[in-house]
């Protein structure tokens, strides 16, 4: 009987980790549904970006209030996880505060954790107020209704509960309080429990301990369904982000092949493909998530739904339907659906008659000015513009579905070498006017 706690703990831990690993596997499988793109060049620059932007939160502080609060929560989250290590060891071996043998240093650690836990609690409450009381505009856009809204709040409640449990656990730990080493915050909570019996305190302490670790395991498995996935994916996402000038769009290599062939008088248009060469039917642009590249898809899972992009998008600022955040959320939702479809059909995608355009309308796609404001401002280097451009390419090259004025413009370019109906032979007239 005396090992029942340990066994229960190990079972819980194993289940938590098993589910988490399963989710990660699905996540990687889904991201790999995207087309290949090489982002392995210039590794030093990539590591630097990851260190600065993901680890160092370099872009967060462009908005100082939310930036600094976020850093508190982030540092708190990481450091308090050292405490989780102790909880795990205690849980497995049935010890109590396994690290306390470190003496004064232990007090120093726990003391810091307590202060951090308190600061995180304060920061998270301010976040909650910003979202729900002050109602900062970017959290109340159309795409934030329903699940995204509850998701945002849920995470805040999670943090509040976990931090409170941590502090209560310490406050009701009679031995720990007696040690008087590191209880910088919890000593002020202890008086709240002063009327209670030691045995009651012990029960509260144990409950807080269990709830704390169970809470963490739930949190771990909640990640996959949440915008909070960014705490993991921000790292690969900033590593693999585009390093080229933002104005440089990709040149579609399939198009290059065809254009060169068209322009090469010696090419034989009826030439058979070389033997063994796989006849690839390439879609131009993106109709569905599987036509996007894997970095686009990684972007979608990484999006924090913070809305900084949308709040700086000229189209959105002037009341257009386009919201770069929604582009990312829609891409993720569709990708999830495609993933589930594959799971349900023994690993093969079964046509469901839907595509990305069921989520993202043409109206949104055509409202973009390709200004790169969204890309520039995103705290984790997401590129919504890349997805918009691929969708435009599909509309124009596969469906010939550009707005009429753009078709005019393109016809002019084709016929006169200018977007307006002027004769190329008049290109020098400006000199003499």
């Amino acid at each position: 009987m005396q090992y029942i706690d340990n066994i229960l703990f190990v079972a819980l831990l194993a289940a938590g980790i098993w589910f988490f690993a399963k989710n990660i596997k699905t996540l990687i499988r889904n991201i790999k549904l995207g087309k290949d793109i090489d982002r392995t060049d210039n590794k030093p620059e990539r590591w630097k970006n990851m260190a600065k932007i993901a680890l160092g939160q370099g872009k967060m502080v462009r908005r100082p209030v939310s930036g600094i609060l976020h850093i508190i929560v982030y540092v708190g989250f990481i450091l308090i996880n050292i405490e989780v290590l102790e909880i795990i060891i205690d849980g497995i071996f049935g010890t109590h505060r396994a690290f306390s043998g470190m003496g004064a240093f232990y007090g120093f650690l726990i003391g810091n954790f307590e202060v951090l836990a308190f600061l995180v609690l304060v920061a998270v409450i301010i976040f909650w107020v910003r979202r729900n009381v002050i109602k900062i505009k970017r959290f109340w856009k159309d795409e934030m209704k329903g699940w995204p809204k509850s998701d945002g709040n849920m995470i805040l409640y999670f943090e509040m509960i976990l931090m409170t449990l941590f502090l209560i656990m310490n406050a009701t730990d009679v031995e720990f309080q007696a040690m008087n080493n590191g209880n910088v915050i919890s000593q002020y909570i202890t008086p709240l429990f002063s009327s209670m019996e030691t045995s009651t305190l012990h029960i509260i302490e144990r409950s807080a301990w269990w709830l704390h670790i169970v809470g963490i395991l739930i949190f771990l498995n909640y990640l996959y369904y949440s915008k909070h996935l960014h705490i993991l994916l921000a790292f690969p996402n900033t590593f693999y982000a585009n390093l080229k000038p933002k104005g440089q769009f990709t040149n579609d290599a399939n198009v290059t092949k065809e254009v060169k062939m068209m322009m090469d008088p010696s090419a034989d248009p009826y030439a058979m493909p070389e033997e063994g060469a796989e006849e690839e039917i390439a879609t131009f642009g993106a109709k569905d998530v599987t036509d996007l590249n894997w970095v686009n898809l990684l972007n979608a899972y990484t999006c924090t739904e913070c809305g900084r992009c949308t709040s700086e998008c000229p189209a959105n600022l002037t009341g257009k339907k386009l919201s770069p955040r929604k582009i990312m959320m829609d891409t993720r939702d569709r990708l999830e659906e495609v993933g589930k479809n594959i799971d349900a059909n023994n690993g093969e995608f079964k046509d469901d008659g839907k595509n990305l355009f069921d989520w993202i309308s043409k109206e949104e796609v055509w409202a973009c000015t390709s200004c790169n404001a969204c890309v520039e401002t995103c705290p984790v280097n997401i590129d919504p513009l890349g997805i918009i451009m691929e969708m435009r390419r599909y509309l124009v090259m596969e469906e010939s579905a550009a707005p009429a004025e753009l078709n005019n413009m393109m016809q002019n370019v084709e016929n006169n070498g200018a977007p307006w109906p002027y004769n190329q032979m008049d290109r020098m007239k400006w000199v003499d006017e």
Partner: protein
């Protein structure tokens, strides 16, 4: 036009067995748009004055393909790009300067993969070089003390990180340069990019150029300076929409420079 401009074409130069130091890529707007043509002329006036050995492609120039590409027509873009590259390479062009950030961006960044690699400068970068080399001086004093705000073209600023060149030129003129609340990396688009120039905007509650003009008006600037023919059109229309024509002038940096010589 008071003074006649000297604008040799590549073909003429070649016939005389001369090689220009740099090619001026005029761009479709600079060749055909009434407002942008004035910018082309202002820029050439400076080039002539500084005795720059340049040439244009003239009737051999064709659309850079930028608008087609941003509209999603990769085919048309690559056709344009490859055709232009053939012409440029045939003339063995090494250096290009242009007044259009869209041509600048696509030639500089997107042409190399298709076989056209050149040193490409935006006219404000090139003018800054002329200034540094002492080939022009901006002591004319025409704009000294005038309140000017600079609107960063997206394809020059955010897209290619050119923020300083236009500002350095204007500081040299001793203008009273004021920044809008959104500037440089955080600058707000004028609304023309991504082929929007050629279509009506989607349904919304305001036009982007009007919003941007309001940003400029907050600085109480008398002049909105910019470095892009499309931004120029958009801001000029914005100023009209806000009925500020008498109070605010929209000018290209090249025009400011040309009048300060």
């Amino acid at each position: 036009m008071s003074e006649a401009l000297k604008v040799p074409t590549m073909a003429e130069m070649m016939a005389e067995d001369k090689t220009p130091d740099i090619l001026f890529w005029v761009g479709s707007a600079g060749s055909f748009d009434d407002r942008a043509k004035k910018i082309s002329r202002a820029f050439v006036k400076i080039l002539n004055k500084a005795n720059v050995n340049f040439a244009v492609l003239g009737t051999e120039e064709s659309s850079s393909g930028d608008a087609a590409k941003r509209a999603g027509n990769e085919f048309l873009f690559q056709m344009q790009a490859i055709t232009n590259i053939e012409v440029l390479n045939a003339y063995e062009v090494k250096k290009i300067v242009t007044c259009c950030p869209h041509s600048y961006n696509t030639i500089k960044n997107e042409y190399p993969e298709l076989g056209g690699t050149y040193e490409v400068y935006h006219h404000t970068e090139f003018l800054q070089q002329l200034l540094k080399a002492g080939k022009i001086s901006l002591s004319g004093g025409e704009y000294k003390g005038k309140r000017v705000t600079f609107h960063d073209p997206c394809y020059l600023g955010r897209a290619n990180s050119v923020f300083d060149a236009p500002r350095a030129l204007m500081n040299e003129m001793k203008v009273d340069l004021v920044e809008m609340k959104r500037s440089k990396l955080n600058s707000l688009c004028c609304g023309a990019g991504g082929a929007q120039m050629f279509k009506e905007p989607e349904k919304g509650d305001k036009d982007i150029n009007v919003l941007r003009t309001e940003d400029a008006m907050e600085t109480s600037a008398e002049i909105i300076a910019t470095g892009c023919p499309f931004c120029n059109t958009m801001m000029t229309d914005g100023v009209k929409a806000k009925e500020q024509e008498g109070k605010i002038e929209v000018l290209d940096v090249a025009e400011l420079v040309a009048r300060s010589l």
